[in-house]
Point group: C2
Chain length 470, copies 2
């Protein structure tokens, strides 16, 4: 089988069936223009002579030059003929946006989808879709939507839902986390998740692999692909369709067979895959792996001014399989010197008390002491000052603790603390992920702990870069 | 026992031990000034003649006029003497902020706490605390922190964590949800949660009762109090301390015995209490009960442009015990007319497809049709337009559907949709709660369904106001 390169690094692109007006299919053209794709882009339209300033051609075969990638958004009835032209034109890769195949629930749809795959095989091209948005790869000027970031990063997102690729990418960008690539692969009649996972696992520029998956055709291939990444690159997996309602929704969305939940779970356990169950958990997990070292035994120091959230956080910590760092005797002694005798607790979880919001040094000296404590793998801090100016100083102090200690530090923007967006940006840039609750920060810590533990158990754990974070 | 009125409607307040400088205890004075408390406020301080423009008195007994409520923030060693003065002065209610009693972990602390309660009984006053912030009641000008809203509402929040009272109130205010009162009751040596629950259940101005609780002294009294509210007012309970780590944190925070988790769960089940496990779930639940009718059988219509989140939402829906509304034949026919034939799904969950973001009528006509379908209890919608102007029109359309149908409508501000804060405000004001993911919207729907079901099973269900929402 031909490799996937022409999807990610095409020298030229044809847009077959691009609409003349402001309709959904237009996003492909807008996306390429927005990214400034360097090669030629050829609109193909049966009647238009020109679309958005680009010369249009009536048929793919009318194009004067060779085409690496064809993005096809033509009506359902025209698709078979266009794919034949792709073969004749020696196109190397096809993204098929058009839907109404396997996901239609009708036998003709399923049959036609099988024909698409056969046409691709016979025509010697690879096919992504149908019913997909294709590739976002900012390093190569590719995007299936306008308004996506131009900055390339080191996260790969492999998704059966194209819109989710767009939404996830933009949500990550707001946290200054960027993508190596996003692949929306829809019904997966030819290129499916296992091959995309292998590709991402082999790409040295990809550090973190995320997947939104409704089902997969070849379970054995999936397991082999996961084994390649296991313990080396975190694989964060949002598998949906595990319920009756969900599996029916998956069938009508991408024609996927969602499969038995317990089989998926067993495969995930075997390969150290980190499972998430909604967009928030996915983003929370990505933020943790992006910012924090992939090490430690999950020994956490919890620090808060408000005492209530600490109790709830301690519950969450235990339920997530983490432990409260025991703290060294020296640290406990320092905390007793830093904090007032009443209204506080120097045992972990550390309640710095209401007074610390008036005297930020109590927070910051506490964190500095914890940052030197070898029983602490990560610190989760909830709090802040009582004025915007104090909050700025608090943020600066957190950044110094993170830098000086090198230790994982997670901040909580609890209602009433650090709610000013302007404060969150410097935290992110300094390697401090911010969570809306201590529970969510801890859930992310638990993912890192699980990955670190899995890596230690596998050969991958012997790689130096994993022991010290990437 | 004297009733709790003097806590909520004092005619005069003494602040005993209020600091002269910018320290934590100052928040009590700042809070009262900020709310414009109408009665006299008397600072009591051993040396200061005046604090922040108010005449100060050296001792409580030096005050010329009677005092209903004393808020005591004096040092630990002075507390016993001050409480004796409260008795002599015939103060009716005392809020004791000072900490270092039962939560200290030392036997003297526990003993002294028992003495506090005895002093209150003998002195014929009620005591809130120690280690608490006391009362926020904006209708009567009371607040233990500055910057809290002056607008009274119909939510009661009973909390062992004072800071949480402040943070919760401010987070609700951002959703235009306001409090009847917040009671921070700390170690609860005299007034405890059961009495506060009875009080809130009996107050006709209180519509919704929320609790953050680490432990309670009298389990039988708690069960009786819950029985009074059961099925009439939703009781949303954030019980913490259920793990080993959590129970230890609770002991050092408020000296509470967290108790066995399964006993609490049994009591909650028996009385239809709605349990939550973090601040987000608490706020999500409050928003749902504030905005939506407390009715229905949990039959949900899910509507989205992006198809991926729909599959995950369908999973969540089933796991939360909700059902996909089957839709009437008439509705299904209308949806087939409204939506394009491909890239969409007219079965519930309803995938309106990417095209709907370019033609909002496809969203809005779909919702209008669902709003007339008697098989639908609530609609959860995820999506929006591709420009800010289209998003404004989308929001206006949602408001019209909510108004015309009277049906519960929950909006999802998924990453990339409705992220503009300015759009969220009109939704809230129109009775449309907004959630960051469909999963969280559905979790809130499940709470309403549980309450509606419990109410139907109890006598309370016969009240007309419950059948039709409040």
């Amino acid at each position: 089988m031909a490799n996937l390169d022409p999807f990610f690094r095409p020298r030229s692109i044809a847009l077959v069936g691009v609409p003349t007006g402001f309709k959904a299919g237009k996003v492909f053209l807008l996306g390429l223009l927005d990214q400034g794709f360097a090669g030629p882009v050829y609109p193909v339209h049966p009647h238009a002579a020109e679309i958005d300033g680009l010369r249009a051609y009536p048929r793919l075969l009318d194009l004067p030059d060779p085409v690496d990638l064809a993005i096809v958004m033509a009506p359902r009835a025209a698709v078979a003929g266009i794919l034949d032209q792709c073969a004749a034109k020696q196109v190397k890769a096809v993204v098929l946006y058009t839907s109404g195949f396997g996901e239609s629930g009708e036998e003709t749809g399923r049959q036609d989808e099988r024909l698409l795959a056969e046409t691709a095989r016979r025509g010697n091209f690879r096919l992504l879709g149908p019913n997909c948005m294709g590739i976002y790869a900012p390093a190569n000027g590719l995007a299936p939507f306008p308004g996506m970031p131009r900055t390339p990063g080191r996260v790969a997102f492999l998704t059966q839902s194209g819109s989710l690729g767009n939404l996830f990418t933009n949500a990550c960008a707001r946290m200054h986390i960027f993508m190596r690539h996003v692949v929306s692969y829809g019904n997966a009649c030819d290129v499916d998740l296992p091959e995309l996972l292998e590709h991402a696992a082999a790409d040295p520029e990809v550090r973190l692999i995320c997947s939104y998956c409704e089902g997969v055709r070849d379970g054995g291939a999936l397991a082999r692909a996961l084994a390649r990444a296991a313990g080396r690159k975190p694989v964060i997996f949002w598998k949906v369709g595990g319920t009756q309602a969900g599996s029916e929704a998956a069938a009508s969305h991408t024609g996927s067979l969602a499969g038995r939940e317990n089989i998926w779970s067993a495969v995930f356990r075997q390969h150290g895959v980190l499972q998430v169950s909604d967009i928030e958990e996915l983003l929370d997990t990505v933020a943790a792996f992006h910012h924090l070292p992939w090490t430690g035994e999950g020994r956490i120091a919890l620090v808060s001014g408000p005492g209530g959230p600490l109790v709830s956080a301690a519950d969450a910590l235990e339920r997530y399989g983490l432990t409260l760092a025991p703290l060294e005797a020296r640290t406990r002694q320092m905390l007793r010197e830093i904090l007032p005798a009443t209204g506080t607790s120097c045992r972990n979880p550390i309640d710095v008390g209401l007074a610390a919001s008036f005297d930020l040094d109590q927070y910051l000296r506490t964190l500095a002491a914890l940052g030197r404590d070898n029983s602490v793998d990560a610190m989760v801090v909830l709090g802040g000052g009582v004025t915007p100016e104090m909050n700025r100083r608090f943020v600066q102090g957190l950044i110094e603790v993170r830098r000086d200690s090198g230790r994982a530090l997670l901040a909580v923007a609890f209602p009433g603390f650090l709610t000013d967006e302007a404060l969150l940006e410097p935290l992110g840039l300094a390697g401090i992920p911010v969570y809306p609750s201590p529970e969510r920060a801890l859930r992310a810590c638990a993912k890192i702990r699980r990955f670190a533990e899995f890596s230690r158990r596998t050969a991958a754990g012997k790689d130096t870069h994993l022991r010290h974070g990437w």
